[in-house]
């Protein structure tokens, strides 16, 4: 059996982003290096070495997981399990119907509710999911920036009011920046302008009420999971952040206030050193954007809080246990890059939703890195390496160039209409496949160390039961019967009227509607009606409250 390729001639010496690499780096490559200008100490501008003095000596990166599936109750049980093994805070990622902005009982959703992600149709689901998590003591991050993005925080605020928890006590946040999302697999058929108006409303509401709840949050992860390596990820991520910030400034909001916390979710790709360079360069790039483009005076607004998530794309279905090794290297690059929160994926990622066992293994992988390797003992340990500093500069330079090109062509919003950005992303994915086929990219289990199917590793497969989906659909049908439908009808009417005016922040009325258990689909449907659109993006159902 031929296993590994020996003495191959077509190895390419370039980074994941295609940056050509020399065999060795020397002082000649860092001739213009200026310690104070380029690095500074951790906790000081431009934050290359990390956001805080002492970094992991004072606090290990936040360890947590994206999770959720099945009914709201199934999701709650998994979140409890995660908390029991040391996952910090709750990360809510929604199922596809929720991300699209329709209820579990919609004809397009009845087969897919809870299949992947947490289903949320109404406050009832949020109450179930967060049962036993005290709102004032739990960091809750709503990771979905689909159509549910702006509505879920309203449900959460409604829950806080019902429980007598002041908004000021709420932690966590919501990844509300929608622009990247448009280029991801979580795109929604809801109209971009309405989506953007709602997201801006939520940020405005939080900013004016001085909430800690962080809403100026970009997830570049979702677009890079389309296959875009480091340089493209940085450029698209910041182009998206700029598109969002510009909308907020246009609304009259103060940059230093709404950007008081700047969470940013990156993917962790496989190119070990390019990833380290990416995290270091990104902090420097953002600090400069904040100061130079937005005139920031608030150091907090200049600090890019990086939540790094291991790529699901780099995990390989063949011989899935090999992913344990991949994930460990990826987590290590994020720690060496000074990321603030790090999420693994599980080894079974390319096969199914994680099992409890694969989740446990991933938590242990994190803790081996945190407590056994000694890596967290010293801040930014690779600083000063000729290669790492050169690569950080190079990644930064190329990212600025692409970012400038995107901005010159009208930014991300214009790119949605024009299609050129989508074409650029697709081209990268097609090229990657060709490189895998030619052997230019080697993937263990795919074109190297290949096992015949009968020798393939067998691992447990987690599948969501049809009963869980049916339970979720029934929950929504039940709540629609049980609630005060007159109150819901009146609040949705009010929402439509406010939406038509186009100059009213819709969050207070959305919170009131959520308190009465108006659903995600009804809220989106009403807002669509306010814009003269069909109630349903799929034109399959009508408003239940049509006069």
């Amino acid at each position: 059996m031929k296993t590994t390729i020996q003495g191959d001639t077509n190895r390419k010496f370039e980074s994941g982003s295609g940056i050509p690499l020399k065999e060795m780096y020397t002082k000649e490559d860092l001739k213009d290096f200026d310690y104070d200008r380029d690095l500074g100490e951790a906790g000081e501008y431009p934050y290359t070495r990390g956001l805080y003095k002492g970094m992991y000596r004072n606090k290990i990166w936040t360890r947590r997981f994206l999770s959720g599936f099945g009914s709201a109750k199934d999701s709650m049980e998994r979140l409890k399990y995660l908390a029991s093994i040391g996952s910090e805070g709750v990360e809510v990622v929604n199922d596809y119907p929720t991300q699209v902005g329709i209820d579990a009982d919609h004809p397009m959703a009845v087969d897919e509710a809870g299949l992947v992600g947490i289903p949320v149709s109404s406050l009832d689901d949020v109450e179930t999911i967060l049962e036993g998590f005290p709102l004032d003591k739990t960091t809750i991050t709503f990771e979905s920036s689909g159509a549910s993005g702006p509505v879920l925080p309203c449900m959460y605020f409604a829950m806080a009011q019902k429980h007598g928890v002041p908004f000021s006590a709420l932690n966590g946040g919501a990844a509300l920046n929608l622009y990247c999302q448009y280029y991801s697999g979580f795109v929604t058929p809801q109209p971009l302008d309405l989506w953007s108006k709602l997201a801006v409303d939520v940020v405005e509401f939080c900013s004016k009420n001085k909430l800690r709840f962080a809403t100026f949050h970009t997830s570049a992860h979702n677009v890079s999971e389309e296959g875009t390596p480091a340089v493209m990820e940085i450029a698209l991520g910041f182009a998206s952040t700029i598109a969002f910030a510009d909308k907020l400034v246009e609304r009259g909001l103060n940059f230093d206030e709404f950007a008081n916390r700047v969470p940013f979710t990156f993917t962790i790709w496989m190119d070990f050193f390019e990833e380290i360079a990416k995290f270091r360069a990104s902090r420097r790039i953002w600090a400069r954007i904040a100061r130079e483009r937005y005139g920031s005076k608030n150091p907090r607004a200049q600090k890019l809080y990086i939540a790094a998530r291991v790529s699901g794309l780099t995990a390989i279905a063949q011989q899935p246990l090999n992913n344990v090794a991949r994930i460990a290297y990826q987590l290590m690059s994020a720690a060496l890059g000074g990321c603030n929160a790090i999420d693994p994926v599980m080894y079974d990622e390319p096969l199914c939703l994680p099992t409890e066992e694969s989740t446990w293994l991933a938590m242990c992988t994190q803790n081996i890195l945190a407590y056994e390797t000694g890596i967290p003992n010293v801040v930014d340990p690779l600083a000063g390496s000729y290669y790492v500093e050169w690569l950080t500069n190079e990644v930064e330079k190329r990212s600025w160039e692409l970012l400038q090109k995107i901005l010159d062509k009208g930014g991300l919003e214009e790119g949605v209409k024009d299609g050129w950005i989508r074409a650029m992303i697709d081209e990268v994915a097609i090229k990657r496949q060709k490189d895998i086929e030619s052997g230019a990219i080697k993937l263990i289990g795919i074109n190297d160390m290949v096992l015949p199917p009968e020798k393939e590793f067998k691992v447990p497969i987690h599948q969501v039961s049809k009963a869980s989906t049916a339970e979720q659909v029934q929950r929504v049908r039940d709540i629609k019967k049980k609630r005060n439908n007159n109150a819901v009808k009146e609040l949705l009417k009010k929402l439509i009227a406010e939406d038509k005016l186009d100059n009213i922040n819709l969050v207070p009325t959305m919170i009131e509607a959520c308190k009465e258990y108006a659903t995600l689909g009804e809220i989106w449907g009403s807002l669509r009606v306010g814009r003269g659109l069909h109630y349903d993006p799929f034109e399959m159902i009508e408003s239940p409250f049509k006069d």
């Binding site: 279905a317 697709d426 086929e437």
Partner: protein
């Protein structure tokens, strides 16, 4: 041999369609005609497109387990209309035991992650040839 016409689609609400687009590009490179339906397709819209396009092959890309729920519905529709000549291929994240289950339902081929373009093109070409021969269609 007459050019093979393939309708490629996502099924359901999952918008992760890079895989579908990469495979569409492979099939075009191999000389096939590809109609890519895009995201948010239901079994009914895929069925309708396959009829309208007179497709030889329907290629469904699944990433989020919806092969277990929506692909069987599409197969039911095709069976009811007696469209036995259409080759059905499902690609993507389809772990055990689902390849065997889908094949039992009438899916002609399952293409897992990491499959190279050569085997994909060969599989589709040979399945289309078999169906054409069975239907007595001359090459």
């Amino acid at each position: 041999m007459k050019q093979i016409k393939v309708v490629v689609s996502k099924i359901g609400l999952d918008g992760h369609d890079v895989g579908a687009k990469v495979v569409s590009a492979m099939l075009r490179d191999a000389g096939m005609e590809v109609v890519y339906l895009g995201r948010f397709q239901s079994p009914a819209t895929i069925f309708k497109a396959a009829v309208e396009e007179d497709a030889d092959v329907i290629g469904i890309s699944c990433q989020s387990s919806n092969h277990t729920r929506l692909v069987p519905k599409l197969i039911d529709m095709l069976k009811k209309e007696g469209m036995d000549n259409v080759v059905i291929v499902v690609g993507g994240t389809i772990p055990d035991p689902f390849p065997a289950e889908l094949k039992a339902l009438g899916v002609d081929a399952i293409i897992g992650p990491g499959t190279m373009s050569g085997p994909i093109v060969e599989t589709i070409t040979s399945l289309v040839e078999q169906k054409r021969q069975a239907a007595g269609i001359k090459e």
